[in-house]
């Protein structure tokens, strides 16, 4: 009976841990406290080991007390090293949690190796044995114990996030405003810390140290790449925790490997996907936007060059070499091709000239450029210093801004060099 349902219970345990950690992890990432998760999951180990040695059992309460004590000791150590002994902060964190983790491993291998607590289970957790770790109510079998524990923890976290949504939001983004609105930022900090500790401890036992670190940081950071809205980030983060738990389980059974490790790997895949493809904050979106902007600027420069040549030397067509900027050959070439493709420029026996729509667009740009020059000159910039700033501003000036500048320069018809400012149609 248990065997049939085992995959379901394992996935459910992972999903509950993923959802709880993901929910809180989003706040940790937003508040730049990600390393806290890392530190906590290392530091609870000696606490758990000592509690186990003292009580001789793996009951929830001693484990929980031990783990919490471990977390508190880690915080105190880091504070002492950093504030009182004046060790750098990153070094303090590094020393404190490697030392505590080492202590935990030594305690476990030295004293507890015969019993069912070993170094492997510390790392990978025992999520595979979840279905056989039963909870009994009197004589009645109530189902796997970790599912109950993590279920309660998830409900608690959800309750905190829902009840204190507004308070946590304000305290996370604007602690000063929180204080002026009568919300204690410190209290919210401790509420969050408390929830993170409880969740870390609960998840640690069933899913192991690595999975806790990953679940606290990775889904939150991934979700942070997709949205600016806290509600969306929280939902996505919890959801990603769940998805990676499910995917990780199947990955692990296909690969015959550690379930917790596979869940982390799935999380890594979700993060990589977000890192590359998230529309606003992903790498591809960022590079595409940059490339688009570069091409637009290069296009504008080609159009302006053709128009200026026409105006000053009455030359209407230029060769490829004259138009393409030698320092940015590829972008410049792309820009020229796209202009031809859109019909703004026509090709006449190997040379390039402005087509009718191209003249309109180029005139518009030239007008922008010269208006800016005149305006900057009026602001006090000497005439020989106005070209470069105008060159940068001409690309980002829309109709409205152009009208505003025109109105600010009522009686001016030429730029500081005496060149005519083309009028709008």
């Amino acid at each position: 009976m248990v065997e049939i349902w085992a995959p379901f219970w394992i996935v459910l345990t992972g999903a509950l841990a993923g959802a709880s950690c993901g929910l809180l992890g989003a706040y940790l990432v937003l508040r730049k406290m990600s390393l806290l998760g890392d530190a906590l999951s290392h530091a609870v180990l000696p606490g758990i080991a000592i509690a186990f040695l003292l009580s001789g059992s793996r009951d929830v309460l001693p484990m929980f007390v031990g783990a919490t004590a471990g977390g508190v000791v880690a915080t105190l150590l880091i504070e002492t090293f950093h504030r009182r002994w004046r060790v750098q902060e990153d070094t303090s964190i590094g020393i404190a949690f490697t030392a505590l983790f080492a202590l935990g491993v030594v305690l476990i291998t030295a004293f507890a190796a015969q019993v069912d607590l070993d170094q492997e289970c510390v790392l990978y957790g025992e999520i595979a044995y979840t279905p056989w770790d039963r909870l009994f109510w009197g004589e009645r079998d109530m189902g796997p114990r970790p599912v109950w524990i993590l279920g309660v923890v998830f409900a608690l976290d959800l309750l905190i996030v829902v009840v204190f949504y507004k308070e946590l939001l304000i305290a996370s983004f604007d602690p000063e405003m929180a204080v002026s609105a009568g919300i204690s930022a410190a209290l919210m900090h401790y509420v969050l810390m408390g929830a993170v500790s409880v969740t870390t401890v609960a998840a640690f036992e069933s899913v192991g140290a690595i999975l806790v670190v990953a679940m606290l940081i990775v889904p939150g950071a991934s979700a942070y790449l997709w949205s600016d809205q806290l509600k969306v980030i929280l939902t996505l983060s919890a959801l990603m925790g769940v998805v990676s738990a499910v995917a990780g389980y199947f990955l692990a059974s296909a690969w015959n490997s550690s379930i917790a490790g596979a869940m982390v790997a799935a999380m890594g895949a979700i993060f990589a996907f977000s890192l590359l493809l998230a529309p606003r904050y992903g790498l591809l979106g960022r590079f595409a936007r940059q490339a688009r902007l570069s091409i637009r600027v290069a296009r504008d420069h080609v159009l302006l060059k053709l128009l200026r040549e026409r105006e000053s030397r009455q030359v209407s067509a230029l060769g490829w070499g004259d138009l393409v900027d030698a320092t940015a050959r590829r972008i410049s070439g792309l820009a020229l091709r796209s202009l031809i493709w859109q019909g703004l420029i026509v090709r006449e026996n190997g040379r390039f000239a402005l087509a009718e729509p191209g003249i309109t667009r180029a005139t518009e740009l030239l007008r922008n450029h010269r208006l800016w020059e005149a305006y900057l000159n009026q602001l006090g910039l000497p005439p020989d210093h106005v070209h470069d700033p105008a060159d940068a501003l001409e690309h980002v000036t829309d109709d409205h801004l152009q009208r505003e500048i025109r109105m600010a320069l009522p009686n001016i018809a030429t730029d500081p060099q005496g060149k005519r400012i083309p009028e709008a149609r």
């Binding site: 990432v29 730049k32 406290m33 990600s34 390393l35 998760g37 890392d38 090293f81 009182r84 002994w85 004046r86 060790v87 750098q88 990153d90 070094t91 964190i93 590094g94 020393i95 490697t98 030392a99 983790f101 080492a102 202590l103 491993v105 030594v106 291998t109 030295a110 190796a113 170094q119 790392l123 990978y124 690595i210 999975l211 670190v213 606290l216 940081i217 990775v218 939150g220 950071a221 942070y224 790449l225 990955l251 692990a252 690969w255 015959n256 490997s257 550690s258 917790a260 490790g261 596979a262 982390v264 790997a265 999380m267 890594g268 993060f271 890192l275 904050y281 992903g282 790498l283 960022r286």
Partner: protein, 426 residues
Amino acid sequence: MIWDATFQFVLIGALLIGATSGTLGAFAVLRRRSLLGDALAHAALPGVALAFLWTQSKALPILLLGATVSGVIGVLVIEVIVNYTRIKADAALGIVLSVFFGIGIVLLTHIQQSAVGNQSGLDKFLFGQAASIVRADLYVMCLVSALVLIAVCIFYKEFKGLIFDAEFLAALGFSPRRVDLLLMGLIVLSVMVGLQAVGVILIAAMLITPAAAARFWTDRLHVMVIASGILGALCGALGVGISALAPRIPTGPVMVLVATGAFLASALIAPKRGVLARWARRRANARRENGQHFLRAHTARQDGQGDAVALTDIAAELQLPRARVHRLAKRLSRDGCVAIHNGACSLTEQGQKEAEFVVKSHRLWEYYLVYRSILERDHVDRPADEAEHILTPEMIEQLETLLANENIDIDIHKTGSGYRRTGDDG
């Protein structure tokens, strides 16, 4: 029996690991790369597993090559995340650390489940197993260590520049970015030296902890680098010695705990920066201040030069409990500043000098605060109380000549020639 060949290999290995990571750690800690070392050590695990999967070989050079490659990829991923997205450095470190490690665990468990993997012994890379070092491994470790240490000797000046003044380094014509990359590369290599014996989870501690311990002993970089290297080597050797007594306990955690012990001891007993030294210094300062306050109170209460003043009067002047004033008086009489008889005390010649000095110092501060318009006339007594202990006798002499030349009277409260406490005249 304990001096057999295996143990010698292990001991030499531990010395190498400690020396290399200790030396590099000094730079890593000062450059604020402690946690980066941790992340890249964790990131090395999938490299070890993949190198084994591809080559089916357990040879250390091959596994370390894989580890180096994946460690470097981990560092690069962190750089990309921090430089090109809105995710901050702490989360980037956490992501790379946990995801790479997770992937490493997946590969490792996958290898262990397969037939060949059972004897692979790759799991020693998690917590480290010093006993598994053989002669061939030692050659590899020696080579990498030598490489790292020679590079440190050659580029010492550049690293120093990078740590303390990157702009100066740039002005000298070096690219700080390249020097930084070189340093990170060396950190990766020094992590690799210890991977087999200490394991990926805790090797970063061998980088961080000895360096942080050495930092307590000195303010000079070359001293710190050498001290950190030696300390690392000692911790490594001691750790190996201890874990040889209890073979079941993996070596890595023991070495780390020894290093942590060295860190705690240094923090406690190091001169100047140590906790005890700073405590003693604070206590000595407090004693000196209290003694000086006592002497000033004495001069304020005495009617004429050389008169005795009752301790109760001094207690009232200082607004301190009488028992404390008694203790103060006893200490001052031990130092030869006052003589006590029948509940009253008088200043000795030395005490007279000291008292004069304190009063002058106090007045100079008051004068300075008023004439620099920092504070109003009736607000200067308290701050001067705090600051009067800072001036040295030489400074006072200089200031007095300066003020005498300009014909300035520093007695801003016009208490006259008798050294009276300024708050009392009305």
